[in-house]
Symmetry: D3
Subunit: 70 residues, 6 copies
Amino acid sequence: MPYVNIRVTNEGVTSAQKLELIEGVTDLLTRVLSKDPATTFVIIDEVETDNWGLNRESITTRRRCPKAAV
Amino acid sequence: MPYVNIRVTNEGVTSAQKLELIEGVTDLLTRVLSKDPATTFVIIDEVETDNWGLNRESITTRRRCPKAAV
Amino acid sequence: MPYVNIRVTNEGVTSAQKLELIEGVTDLLTRVLSKDPATTFVIIDEVETDNWGLNRESITTRRRCPKAAV
Amino acid sequence: MPYVNIRVTNEGVTSAQKLELIEGVTDLLTRVLSKDPATTFVIIDEVETDNWGLNRESITTRRRCPKAAV
Amino acid sequence: MPYVNIRVTNEGVTSAQKLELIEGVTDLLTRVLSKDPATTFVIIDEVETDNWGLNRESITTRRRCPKAAV
Amino acid sequence: MPYVNIRVTNEGVTSAQKLELIEGVTDLLTRVLSKDPATTFVIIDEVETDNWGLNRESITTRRRCPKAAV
C-alpha cells in the first residue's frame, strides 16, 4: 500500500528504465518494510527542464554548462 | 479551502467526466466538512500508463492482459 | 488504481468523517471512471492552520475573523 | 534543501517567467530560512484548465466569464 | 536532481529502515538514470492509518482483519 | 488560483517565518503571473530530519557534521 512518486526531468527516460525503477522501488519496499507489491503504487513524473529550478537556475540553463551533473 | 489531487492514468478521461469528478469531490467536501466551494481546489493529473507501476508492472503491460481491471 | 490526496486544515476531522470522504471519493471514481475500489488509494493530509496560507494570511489568522468561511 | 512545488494552469507561462519564479522562491527561502540555493528545488507544474476545478467549475468554464480572475 | 516521495502508513518505521529506503532509492536512481546522489531528495511521509483509504476502508479497519496484508 | 507546496525540514520554523513565506510566495505570483491572492494557496509541510534524505544520508546524520549547510 505504499505510494511512491519519482520526479525527474523529461530527458528521454525509456520504457525499460521506467520499468527498472518500478521494479526496483517495489522490491525495496517489500524487502525493507514487507509491503505487498499488489498494492504498491509507483508513479513517475517527467518535468520539463524549464520547469525545474536548482541553485536559482533552470535545468535547461544548467545543461548548457557540462560540469553541472544533476 | 481543501486541495484535492486526483491522479489517474491518461486513458481518455473526457471533459465531462473531469467536471463530474470536480463537482462530486467539491460536493462531498461541502457535505462532510462544510467546506466552501469557492475555495475548494480539485486538480486532476493524467499519468502515462508507462509511468504508473502496480505489482512490479507498468499499467501499459497490465492492460495487455484483460483480467487486470485497475 | 487512482490515487487521491485530500489536503485540509487540521481542525478536528473525525474518523467517521474521514471514512465518509474515503467512501465518497472511491464511489465517485467507480461511478465516473469505472475504477476498481480494491486499487483506489485515498490519502488525507491534515495541515496545521499556521502552515496553510490563503490571500496572504495564514488560516490561523483568518479563523479569528468569523466571516472568513474557508 | 527545500522542495517547492508551484502548480498553475497551463496558460502560456514563459521561460522568463518560470525563471523569475525559480529565482524569487529560492531567494525567499534563503532570506527567511537561510536555506542553501545549491540544494533548493523549485518545480513548476502546468495543469490543463479542464483539469483544474474551483467552485464546482473547471477553469476552462470560468475563463469564459471574464470577471472570474483567478 | 530527482525528487522521490515515499508515502507509507505510520506504523513504526524505524530510523534504520528509513535510511535503507533513502540509500536504496538513491542507488537505484544512480544505477538506472546516472543521477547524482548529491542532488537526489528522498522524502518519507508517514500517514495515520485512519487517513489512508483502500477499497472503501481505512487501513485502521483493514488492520483488524489479519488477512489484509498491505 | 496557484497552489504552492513548500517542503522543509521540521527544525523550528516560527509562525512569523511561515507568514513571511506565505506573503512572499503570494506576492511573487501576483507580480510575475498576475495571480489573485484570494485564490492562491500556500501550504508548508515540515518533514522530520530522519525522513528527509540527501546524498544517501538522512538530514539527522548530515546535521551532525556542521559543514553540511542545507
